[in-house]
Symmetry: C2
Subunit: 383 residues, 2 copies
Amino acid sequence: MAQTTENRRPIIVQKYGGSSVADVEKLGKVADRIVATKNAGNDVVVVVSAMGKTTDGLLGLARQVAAAADSTDPPRRELDMLLSTGERVSMALLSIAIQSRGIEAISFTGSQSGILTNDRHFDARIIEVRPHRIEDELARGKIVIVAGYQGVSYRREITTLGRGGSDTTAVALAAALNADACEIYSDVDGVYSADPRAVPQAKHIEELSHEALQEMAECGAKVVCAQAVEWARRSGITIFARSTFSPIGEGKETVIRKFAPSETLTARAVVGESNIVLGRVENAACLDELLKAAGQCNVTFKDLQVGERGGTFLISLLNVPDWQGAKRTLLAAVPTLQLSENLAAVSVVGDGFASTHEPPVRFLTGLKNAAAKPHLTILLLCE
Amino acid sequence: MAQTTENRRPIIVQKYGGSSVADVEKLGKVADRIVATKNAGNDVVVVVSAMGKTTDGLLGLARQVAAAADSTDPPRRELDMLLSTGERVSMALLSIAIQSRGIEAISFTGSQSGILTNDRHFDARIIEVRPHRIEDELARGKIVIVAGYQGVSYRREITTLGRGGSDTTAVALAAALNADACEIYSDVDGVYSADPRAVPQAKHIEELSHEALQEMAECGAKVVCAQAVEWARRSGITIFARSTFSPIGEGKETVIRKFAPSETLTARAVVGESNIVLGRVENAACLDELLKAAGQCNVTFKDLQVGERGGTFLISLLNVPDWQGAKRTLLAAVPTLQLSENLAAVSVVGDGFASTHEPPVRFLTGLKNAAAKPHLTILLLCE
C-alpha cells in the first residue's frame, strides 16, 4: 500500500467501458477487480459506462418514436434524459455486485457526484466538479460508483457529455479528487500504432504523451476520448489504459503521461475515422452564415481551413444525432455549400512533426500508392 | 373547454400504466390521446410508468447480480437507483413522441417534479409535493410528462414508492396542482365486481366511493393502488379509471369520488390476492420483538390481530424484495413464530357492512361450499 505524503490512502479512479460490463458475468469480474484494488489499501472511485450497446439501443428507440410521427429530430434535452439512464442502470448493478461481496459501496449519478456542465445538451462540457458527496463516502470507507457520461447543468437539467464522455468524467473526477491514478479499462490492452482489428501487425505502445494521444483521439482513435486526454494534459493526470479482460495485475498497458518535448522525430500511430463529411464553400463571405447555422444545429467543424478563395472543413457524424436535419439547416443557410458524404479520414500522429515534413511526406507516398485502388481520394490537410 | 372560476385553463392529470406504453406503437397512441386532451383546451400533466415489464426485468437483473455472489438481498437504496430509470426512459420517449407531433412538451423526473418522500427506500411515502417547475412549464403552454413511482428524499436520495406508486404520483400531483380531474389509464376500462380475467360474469362498476375502492385495493384489487386512493379521499380528488385502448372519448369508465355515507347495504366487489404469508405467535409478549424485526427487514403486517393468547397477521409479498432474508430475520427474533406460506386471500368489499354481518355471512357460506374442494382453508378476519 503506497502512502502519500499527507498520510492519506491513495485514491484510484477506475473507468470501465460498456463492453467491460456488458452482462452479469462481466460485471462480476469488474466487481472483483474493484474489490482487489480496495483491498490493496486504496480509496476507489469507479466511473462506469452503460452496459454493452445500451446507449445505441436507447438512441434507436428515440429515433423510432420520432420517425413514427414523421419527425427526424428527437429533441436533445429529452435524449439526455433518456440516455443518462443507461449509466444509472450499470452503476446500481455494479454497486449491488460489490455489496454482495461484503464490501461497502454507494452509487451516485453525475449530478450527485457534482459534475456540473454547460447547457449544451447531448454534447455538454464539464465546467466544474464538486465531489463533496464522493469525498464524504470515501472517508466512510466506501467504494463510490459514479454514472459516467453525464452531469447537471446550471439550469438543473440532466446533460450528457457526448461519445466517450465517461472517460472525461473519470479524468475530471481524478483531477478534482487529486487522485493518484486514473485507470481506463476497455476491451483493448492500451494504445496501438494502428487499429489492431484492421492492421494485425500494429504495435503496442507502452508510453505516450498526452499531446500525441489527444491528437490520435481527435483523428478517430477510440481508446480514450480526446476531451478526456485534454483534461488529463491540463491537470497533469497520468492515465493507465488497460484491458478489463487481462488477469488482475497482469497484462499490457499504455501509460499516458507528461513528457519533456521530444528531441527525436517519431511517427507514433496511424488512426482512421469513418462517417466523415467534407464541406466546401467557394466564397469566404459565406462562412459567417455557415458557422451560425452550424451552431443552430449543434454541428462542430474540424480542420476548418479558410483562404481567399473559400474554405474546407470536416464534420464527424459521431456526435450528430440527426444529420439529415442538420444538412437541411446548413444548405438553407448557404445554398452554394458543397458536401461530400460517406468519407473516411486517415491520419498519422507523432512527435516533432512541426519541424519537418519528412514523415507526412512518406505517409502520403504510401497513401498515394494505395490510392491506385478505386474509391480512395486523398485530401491533404497540413497543420 | 370548461372554464373554472379563476378563468384559468382546466388542469387534467393523466396517468398511463406500463401496458399502455409497452411499445413504440402504443406510446404513439398515448401521445395522440394526450395531444387531444391538450387541444381540447386543458393544461395536461402526464404521469407515466415504466414500459411493459421493465421494472420486473431490472429487479430480476439485480437479483441475478446478487445471487452470482451468493447474496440474496440487493440493497434497497441501489434498487431505487436502478428501478427509477424505467420511468425515466418512458417519460423521455413520450415527450419525444409528443414533440414529434408538433406540440411542446417537457419531461421531469420525480425529483424535478418536486415529489419529496421519506427515506424508506423501495417503499417510500410522499411527504410533500412542490410542483413549481411543473407550474412554470404549464404556464408556458407545455405538456409536462412526469416519471411516476419515484421521488427524492430529504437526504437528496432517489426513492421509489412501491408497487402502484405511479398512481400515487398522479393523485398527489393532482392534489398539489388543484387539478380538475385525475385520469388513471390502464388495460382495463375501470373497476369490476371481481377480476374479469378470473370471473367472466364480473360486473362493471360505474361509480364507487373512495372508501370502497381503498378497501378493495388493500385486499388486492389492482386497478388503482391503495395509497393513491387514500390520498384522493383525503384531498377530495375525483379519479376516472379508464382503458387506454378504448377510442378517445368513448368506452366505459369508473368514477371514484366522494359519496354521502350509504344508507343501503351493498356488497360492491370480491377481490383476491396471492403471495400471502400467514403468521401466528402464541404469546403476545413476543409481539414487541416481532414488530422490531419486521421494521428492520422492511416487512409490513396487515390484519394484525392481537389477543391474550397471541396474535395473527398477514404479510403480502408484493413489496418484499427478499422474502427469504426477511423470514430469517423474523425467525431469529421470535423462534416460536409460525409462518404459513403460499396462501391467497379473498375479500368481499362493500358499504354499510359495519352495521350488520349479513353479507359477510353469506360470503362465508359460499366460501365454505367452495372449501369442499381441497387446498382451500378459510381464515376468518372480521374488522
